[in-house]
């Protein structure tokens, strides 16, 4: 052991720094744990069969549930997926097939920009594209707004996954005389399906909790509705409206809804993690 005070000082400093880093790094898990625990504690007592199958009651009446928001969320997210998944995968295929070239440069830039657009701005734009011309708030316009937010994630994951697939596979397919579209759709895409799937799941998890683009598009609806052309309630909208209201009953509804939304989103994320681990995709 060297008893040099200077070296001793430097070593202590190094250990101290390490301790500080460890401390700061693990402190940030505290808010996450706090949020999850708090929402579970507040939400669990509210969730029962009536909660899942009833629509909200007016203030002052006991009971009521979030059936309209649950149905609305599922429908809006499903419609958004139907729009975004084919377009996203196709664009991902194009970008992975054409790494150079003017169109792929601009297209890649466009995807980059799309990823950075604040969600509220997308809400405004869809309001002018769909809500104003049609003349009514509608669930489908909310779905379009959400699908624009899904696109960059799906495109990125598809592109990155397909780039990893060995070129020899494609060559083998072409050498057998398969036309281009069959090589892509029957050889390349099935090889990368788990990577694409994880991108899709991640994008669904991302948009399931989005509120801002729905404010001016799906708008919300206190009644049970399955009509895509009419305003529709969704879980994040319900949480926002009821959380900012002054009524205790509505707060309780919002806690239950938060718990369901949180479980939905976290489950999707964990599922994604498991598939990405298997496939080793970088997102």
């Amino acid at each position: 052991m060297i008893k040099n005070p200077r070296i001793q000082y430097r070593k202590t400093k190094s250990t101290g720094f390490q301790f500080l880093i460890y401390l700061l790094a693990f402190i940030i898990t505290l808010p996450l744990i706090a949020i999850i625990v708090y929402i579970f504690r507040e939400g669990v007592s509210n969730i029962n069969w009536n909660f899942l199958t009833n629509v909200p009651k007016p203030v002052g009446e006991i009971g009521g549930g979030i059936a309209n928001a649950l149905l609305g969320s599922v429908l809006i997210v499903l419609t958004a997926s139907v729009i975004a998944i084919p377009i996203g995968i196709m664009c991902g295929i194009y970008l992975s097939e054409n790494t150079t070239g003017r169109l792929s440069y601009w297209s890649r830039l466009a995807v980059d920009i799309l990823q950075g657009i604040p969600s509220i701005v997308i809400g405004i734009v869809i309001y002018f594209w769909l809500v104003k011309p049609i003349g009514t708030f509608s669930a489908v316009s909310g779905s379009v707004a959400l699908s624009i937010m899904m696109l960059p994630i799906i495109i990125r994951s598809t592109e990155e996954t397909l780039k990893l697939i060995p070129f020899s596979l494609k060559e083998a397919g072409l050498a057998l005389g398969l036309p281009y579209h069959r090589v892509i759709l029957k050889v390349i895409v099935p090889c990368g399906v788990s990577g694409i799937l994880s991108g899709v799941m991640l994008s669904v998890a991302r948009i399931a909790g989005e509120t801002a683009p729905l404010l001016f598009t799906a708008f919300g609806n206190p009644y049970l509705s399955a009509n895509l052309g009419k305003p529709m309630q969704s879980l994040p909208l319900l949480i926002f409206n009821y959380a900012t209201s002054p009524y205790e009953d509505w707060h309780n509804l919002a806690w239950g809804a938060s718990l369901i939304l949180l479980i939905w989103v976290l489950l999707l994320n964990i599922l994604t993690k498991l598939t990405t681990k298997k496939w080793n995709v970088q997102l």
Partner: protein, 325 residues
């Protein structure tokens, strides 16, 4: 009539049965036409790929043009001084965006300052101290889950848990105990943006060449000195890009901020005062805007937000691309 060549159905409809050669000929033609059909599909497939790539570009251009066209009435009526007009009062038809610009900058930078020590710590921990093993995996997944929690849930939690906490602090400090306000919004934002800078920091610190670190160690440097004088200088621009990307995120975040910032259009006097950001004022007032100038002024805010976040994101991504290549 030849029995093998024609058949008659009831109602005097008769038709000819084709001969064996004819059938074979038809089949052969069909066989020969299959490649043509495939080529047709191939061309269609390639064209639709190109069309969708073009669609992406058009989508972005469309978003930009919609924002510009819709904010023309406000640009015409209010001019450039809209951006530093100090009062926002739709009742008297006065529109000035300065309170919201200030609110956005204050919350975003405050959030950035709060989050930087933590996100750097996570980056250094995961990239240098503990790159493998269950503990680092746990932290990595926890950080990713922080990014996954919907912002409206952060807002709700902050409204119920954080606001009373901040109010208690404010009482101790002797300022007006609003609870809600710019400081509360910044704390929530800081939690939400940590994952972005942290994951980029981790990636950057991981690609520092081992030989550089070993060189420093062989000269007798301690771990702290290696981090301070080798890793941080080497990853400087990458870490900066991470900060930029989380700033872009903070600027555009709407819901959590809207729920706790207080929503007043008065210029904030301190960091504990309630205020409004560009995104939150759009979220609050867009559906209430009844005059075209009012609506258009809100959209102009959206346009500013769009331009600022896009520029910040593009710079950040460029730096990262250059750095990793």
């Amino acid at each position: 009539m030849d029995k093998t060549k024609t058949m008659s159905a009831p109602g005097n409809i008769s038709f000819r049965v084709p001969s064996y050669q004819e059938i074979m000929e038809k089949l052969r033609i069909k066989k020969a036409s299959r490649p043509y059909k495939q080529i047709k599909w191939e061309v269609f497939f390639k064209r639709s790929l190109v069309a969708i790539a073009i669609l992406m570009v058009l989508l972005v251009i469309g978003i930009f043009f919609t924002l510009v066209v819709q904010s023309v009435p406000s640009i015409k009526a209010l001019g450039i001084k809209y951006l530093w007009g100090k009062t926002w009062n739709p009742v008297t038809n006065e529109y000035g965006a300065y309170p919201f610009l200030l609110g956005t900058l204050l919350t975003s930078f405050l959030a950035l300052i709060i989050s930087i020590p933590f996100s750097f710590a996570v980056g250094i921990y995961l990239g240098e101290y503990n790159t493998k093993g269950w503990l680092s995996n746990l932290l990595k997944n926890a950080v990713e889950l922080i990014a996954a929690v919907p912002s409206v849930i952060y807002g709700f939690w902050a409204l119920v848990v954080l606001v009373p906490l901040v109010r208690a602090i404010e009482i101790k400090l002797g300022v007006v105990p609003y609870g809600i306000g710019i400081f509360t919004a910044s704390v929530v934002l800081a939690i939400m943006i940590i994952p972005y800078a942290a994951s980029i920091g981790r990636e950057m610190i991981k690609i520092v060449p081992q030989s550089l670190k070993e060189g420093a160690y062989s000269l007798g440097a301690t771990r702290y000195e290696v981090i301070k004088s080798v890793i941080l200088p080497y990853t400087k621009s990458g870490l900066f890009a991470g900060i930029l990307l989380s700033l872009g995120r903070a600027l555009g975040e709407t819901m959590a901020v809207t729920m706790v910032i207080g929503n007043t259009s008065i210029i904030p006097t301190s960091i504990f005062a309630p205020g409004n950001t560009m995104a939150s004022v759009i979220a609050n007032e867009f559906t209430e805007a009844d005059r075209s100038v009012y609506l258009s002024a809100l959209i102009e805010l959206g346009l500013v937000l769009f331009l600022v976040t896009v520029v910040i994101n593009m710079i950040g991504k460029r730096i990262i691309k250059r750095f990793t290549r």
